[in-house]
Symmetry: C2
Subunit: 340 residues, 2 copies
DNA sequence: AATTAGCAGTCAAACAAAAAGAGTGCTAAC
DNA sequence: GTTAGCACTCTTTTTGTTTGACTGCTAATT
């Protein structure tokens, strides 16, 4: 059912005010602040109707109204006035991204830092797994007699956190040889493809079968999101929100947010095309406390999805600001990543 | 002034009980629980004297006694009975350290995880900077036309988080050449020494002066503690302590603990020989909230200090357990690191 | 001289009752 | 459809009272 214009307007003000003050919104305050042309009694009737429709709730019979999860959803999709960031904020974003960042990981870290700073919320970022990434070069670096560091250069980043064991009997020359051969084998293929050529290794490569199998294991690690790919920033920001005055709520929130694996499943869920994605309330996601929202955006370079970033915080968050920040950061981020 | 045996005993019980219950300790409870041979009135006299001496405080005139920072210090150094860990706990520690860990960083992460788990406190770990470390090999890996990854193998670890820029005009062969030459130059010298040979580069090396200068910059990064060398675990554990029921206290604590640079300065301060180092209350350390303690231990391999680890938490913490955990983890850690 | 019993005094915490205040819902008039 | 006005509800704040856990002190005891 479509709401009347007036209902929409009133609902918008309720959400606006509630986000601003964290106090249940009364009919009187609405007329005083925004609706001087109609009486509080009229507003009361409308509020009552909006409650009937499921957009508002009351904590008790004689309290003001609080938006429901449904109301927030409508607010974000329809009601909310899109905000622009101040010049100061824009400058801040630009400044941070001007800093030297040699690799994707640093860029993500900067991103979450900026977002958390500007929104005063906990921010999360994750790099998508490398499943479809094309490999450019593979390099082995033996630094212990039986262990070698694996370096993998892909289109977008340099992976360097994996080790394979090599036979101590293998000479350095043989290892270089293996490197050359396997690099050739993998070049221009995606992680997925490389993992699937397990069986038909031609005679040319057969001497390095063991190393290759180790390599495949290493690749697999990068094909699912790793904990180290999840970046969190400002976990403590939640403490500044009045509705989190209760220790148990904080504990609950932190227990979600400090477990990176939980955050991973949260973020990996949405592979949709929508740029900005808002999950309000549980929305069926068990991982989030039901008074939380998750607002995320995906970023891509040259049309390929690189990762997801966003904020997680109380359902009563400043969506105007959050969306504005995510959009602006997104723009800058994409331009940086595309020009690499 | 030396305390009488009886005073010591009473003080010990007060601290024990207070650590256990978090409730101010009364004369009656002391006689009931531990001192059935003397009357509560006598204990009251002793408590009063101990308060006079600065070891105990009262929250208000008719409350039980709470240990002062001084009392905790005395408790840890003199009074406390050293505890042994249960077999279960020992097994747990051993199990964790049996897991494969290819590098020092992973070992530290495991260490902090174990400590936080067993003590229910926030634990911190930091790897000492590499100032005096001897370099074994240096490797450049060009992964973008103008950027190369620097790999440095030292006695204790593989450093791989630094990039230098190289002229695009430089061929891969020249880079390998530079690598060989500089590796030779640096081998068996410490970071410090390498940084100081800036001037007298002999003609043999002079062709790579620029690269060398870049390399020195990279080395310098490892000569001070970096944020990524600081590991924190269980930041949320503080929420389980009853004296941290106040949001502001939590905020205060978390603001220290989430800023790795603050933790860095905290941990880098103590280069003393003492194995276990206890800082109770502020003790002049501005960084710690004054109702917190920091208990740390340094670990070394083959006589060289490798880093520091420990716990940070409320002044009322289970020092018996903390010390026991740190000592046991320390033993295992040193044996692992020494045998590498 | 050290110990102890006993008691008065103190203070926080728990409880209860009352008052104040903010809002709504409803009715009747406009 | 809108609005004024009032009764009603429920929270929050205030105030007062009681209870109980301690201590400190004094005077008696060992």
């Amino acid at each position: 059912m479509e709401l009347s214009e007036r209902k929409k307007k009133i609902l918008q003000h309720v959400v606006d005010d509630y986000i601003e003050t964290a106090v249940p919104v009364s009919s009187k305050s609405l007329t005083e602040r925004h609706l001087s042309n109609i009486s509080s009694a009229t507003v009361r009737n409308e509020l009552s109707a909006l409650e009937e429709l499921g957009y508002l709730t009351q904590l008790h019979t004689s309290s003001g109204r609080v938006p429901s999860a449904e109301a927030y959803k409508l607010y974000v999709s329809d009601l909310m006035v899109k905000n622009k960031l101040s010049d100061k904020e824009l400058d801040y974003i630009k400044k941070v991204f001007l800093e030297k960042a040699d690799n994707l990981e640093e860029v993500i870290k900067n991103t979450t830092k900026v977002i958390s700073e500007l929104t005063s919320l906990t921010s999360v970022g994750v790099v998508s797994p490398d499943v479809g990434e094309k490999i450019k070069v593979i390099k082995f670096f033996r630094y212990k007699p039986d262990t070698a560091l694996v370096l993998i250069v892909t289109e977008r980043r340099l992976l360097k956190d994996n080790y394979i064991s090599v036979p101590e009997t293998m000479t350095d020359e043989q290892l270089v040889e293996a490197e050359t051969v396997l690099s050739k084998l993998c070049a221009e293929r995606s992680f997925e493809e490389v993992c699937n050529i397990k069986d038909d290794i031609s005679s040319e490569f057969s001497g390095y079968k063991n190393i290759f199998l180790n390599l495949v294991e290493a690749l697999k690690v990068y094909m699912t999101v790793k904990e180290s790919d999840v970046v969190l920033e400002g976990e403590d920001k939640i403490l500044n929100h009045p509705e989190y005055a209760d220790i148990n709520k904080i504990r609950n929130f932190l227990s979600v947010v400090t477990q990176k694996d939980k955050v991973m499943t949260l973020l990996s869920g949405d592979g949709r095309d929508i740029k900005i994605n808002v999950k309000i309330g549980t929305d069926g996601y068990e991982e989030i406390p039901d008074d939380c929202s998750l607002v995320t955006a995906t970023y891509s370079a040259n049309g390929v999805k690189i990762g997801t970033y966003g904020v997680i915080g109380p359902i009563r968050m400043d969506y105007q600001k959050v969306v504005a920040v995510l959009e602006n950061v997104g723009k800058i981020l994409e331009s940086i990543l595309t020009n690499r």
